[in-house]
Symmetry: C2
Subunit: 415 residues, 2 copies
């Protein structure tokens, strides 16, 4: 038997023992969507999450959503009225953000390989470009001239420190992202001299960190760096995006970020910030942390089979929808996400099984030797933490299966 | 500097030094397709490959294409007239195989999570189902009755041995695939008694093996097992699919499979086969080996930047098209695929760079500290071995970039 990650808070069973998602039984949601496999996103859970975040963070801190985590249109449309900005990573995401109703001045566009036509679209749309290199800065200046528009430009800074314990280090040392901190003041002066609307800094040190102390340390360093760069450039940044980096507990032993501790430390750090940052708008950018726990992937068991003493539950889903849960995206050692039998959510688990997908590859494993209540064909398997980096971060076309379904449950829109 | 895999045979430069794919300069192919990123597949290279395979293998061996490796419609349409059968892994692939013109009796459908409607579609289409469990067998029998059709059913066998040195072991021990060999004879008798068209066995021991000796050993064991199972069932299998398993050299130090040695040994093994297999049709199923080397992924450099002493070529492509090349699909340690600057294919490499994609994640790396001729914005990067498990095996929707282009070059269709 191998351990599974902790089931996120807020999930419970109805009287019959069936898993409720956003107040609805899993089976009813599948019936509503028409079929499995299905991603269900609970908008109320996202709102709760954001409320907790606002309560923990300094009131002046703007909260941005990094839409790469989950760009599902119905979710995006609603999240727009819950956050203070959207961070996008392509012209396609930018269009979706604008269509969802976010004003362009609260959209920023980061990404190391922006093509000229993406830069032009951002300038025409009035969106802030987070510049990833001096070369990109020159291309943005040229595009502004070509289009006769004043571009809104921020500088993505590659800090000289990383985020300790982060799943992905995005700063410190050599990086493809952003401009090395030591070269940033010169670029600020170049942008201001060129007459653009310089928006400030975007400093992102890492992602998927669970340790509050590490996040606190990185945020303090980020504020210090922003002040230092502004002083060197002799220019006050209108905005500083301090990045995100809050992880969620996917695996056994993982513990949620102590956002209260992070917020308290950030309040203190903001109070102690450099004088030149007095009027700066500070934003935090989170994707995964906001949406991951609000999503559940539901897949139906097609077959229960044994092979040489091991039992397999074969489902109609798989890594083509849940690449990360299968252990094949950015992880070295495969570990189990939290998993349950949706119809027997409150039953005692006493059956050791491996839950596999329908793809013809040994990589397609959703639960490896996990303990579940006994289940068989027709039963629904729930994989938790499916709200971020699921449908769009998986190779959906692999092996020619139909597109996965997605469904947003939003209680506020019920009678 | 880190090594790269060997560039597959057959690639050369034109007089100006530009990489030719299927006789066409890379830049002209991009112009024809309209833009980068672009997968180019060379049909002539695929035909050459199949010719070499036929020459090496026993003449009576049927050659099947596992279309999951690359289901691009124009490629599939042409490959149908070059091979003796297609292996599909979903109802979607089955439809594509039929539309490409393969007669249903030469299509077999394997996959551990077939749903009832997929089983019904296969029976109605006259396609052979490779049964993955006794439960699936019963569902197929029931579907045949419901539809009043005689199903074509083969049994996928989980052998009691694996393929040594294979990238993915698909046999030996407990597996989600197929039916444990020791239970197969009883199922054969059950199928025959039920009056179905029993087609024989599908025995697949592993994939992506480069060592001819290991493949020879697995094939001999496969033939022995087929004979033993047939004897125990007292039924001669009309067909035996002996699987594939031939790898291609992706990485530095990899050496191509010695297909001459494999073919010679297989001829001998077939001559020595059990008497009950005298009239059996033997098929080999290959996907990657047939198409991988015929494909090149072309992506344009958008930015050349340095960060703390390291140089990055930032391209408009990335892991959303080339997940495996980025090291994030089924590999534990990231290694470099063969890579080149398309416009300077014959130039001396003297510039150490990392080639990254346009996605905002450190996972998006196509070449890590590789040595290339100097290149910058506008130049095309070529990643080789892109003919298999590329476009469909990657998370294309990730970060909202446009769909990748694909282009088949087929010289036989030129004047």
């Amino acid at each position: 038997m191998k351990p599974t990650g902790p089931i996120p808070p807020g999930f419970a069973a109805d009287a019959s023992g069936e898993l409720l998602i956003g107040g609805e039984p899993a089976g009813a949601l599948v019936a509503q969507a028409g079929d499995t496999p299905l991603f269900v996103y609970d908008m109320a859970a996202i709102r709760t999450r954001l409320r907790q975040l606002r309560a923990a963070m300094p009131p002046e801190l703007a909260l941005h959503y990094a839409m790469k985590a989950n760009p599902y249109p119905a979710l995006l449309e609603r999240i727009v009225s819950e956050v203070d900005g959207l961070d996008v990573a392509s012209a396609g995401e930018m269009r979706a953000a604008l269509e969802a109703g976010m004003p362009p001045s609260f959209i920023s566009f980061a990404g190391p390989g922006k093509r000229d036509r993406e830069i032009e679209a951002a300038i025409l749309g009035g969106v802030t470009l987070n510049l990833e290199s001096e070369g990109e800065a020159e291309r943005a200046l040229a595009a502004g001239k070509r289009l006769d528009r004043q571009p809104r430009l921020a500088i993505r800074v590659n800090p000289d420190f990383g985020l300790r314990g982060s799943g992905m280090r995005m700063g410190g040392g050599a990086r493809p992202f952003g401009i090395d901190a030591e070269r940033v003041p010169a670029l600020v002066r170049r942008l201001i001299a060129a007459g653009v609307d310089w928006r400030g800094f975007h400093i992102f040190a890492g992602s998927q960190a669970l340790d509050a102390a590490a996040i606190i340390e990185a945020q303090a360093a980020t504020l210090a760096l922003a002040g230092q760069l502004a002083d060197e450039a002799r220019a006050a940044p209108p905005e500083v995006n301090i990045g995100g980096g809050f992880g969620v507990p996917y695996f056994n032993g993982d513990v949620a970020v102590d956002i209260g501790a992070v917020g308290a430390a950030l309040s203190q750090a903001l109070r102690a910030r450099a004088a030149i940052l007095a009027d700066t708008r500070f934003a935090m950018e989170l994707g995964r942390w906001i949406v991951a726990e609000a999503g559940v992937y539901l897949t139906r068991i097609v077959d229960r089979k044994t092979s040489r003493g091991e039992t397999y539950l074969v489902t109609d889903g798989g890594l083509h929808h849940q690449l990360a849960a299968s252990g094949n995206f950015g992880t070295v050692v495969r570990r189990n996400y939290p998993i349950a039998v949706a119809g027997r959510f409150d039953a005692v688990p006493d059956d050791e099984v491996s839950v596999v997908g329908c793809l013809c590859t040994p990589l397609d494993r959703l639960g490896d030797q996990v303990l579940l209540p006994r289940a068989g064909p027709g039963d629904l398997i729930a994989i938790f933490l499916a709200g971020a980096y699921g449908a769009t971060a998986s190779p959906q076309a692999f092996l020619g299966h139909p597109a996965v379904r997605e469904l947003l449950v939003d209680e506020t829109f019920r009678s």
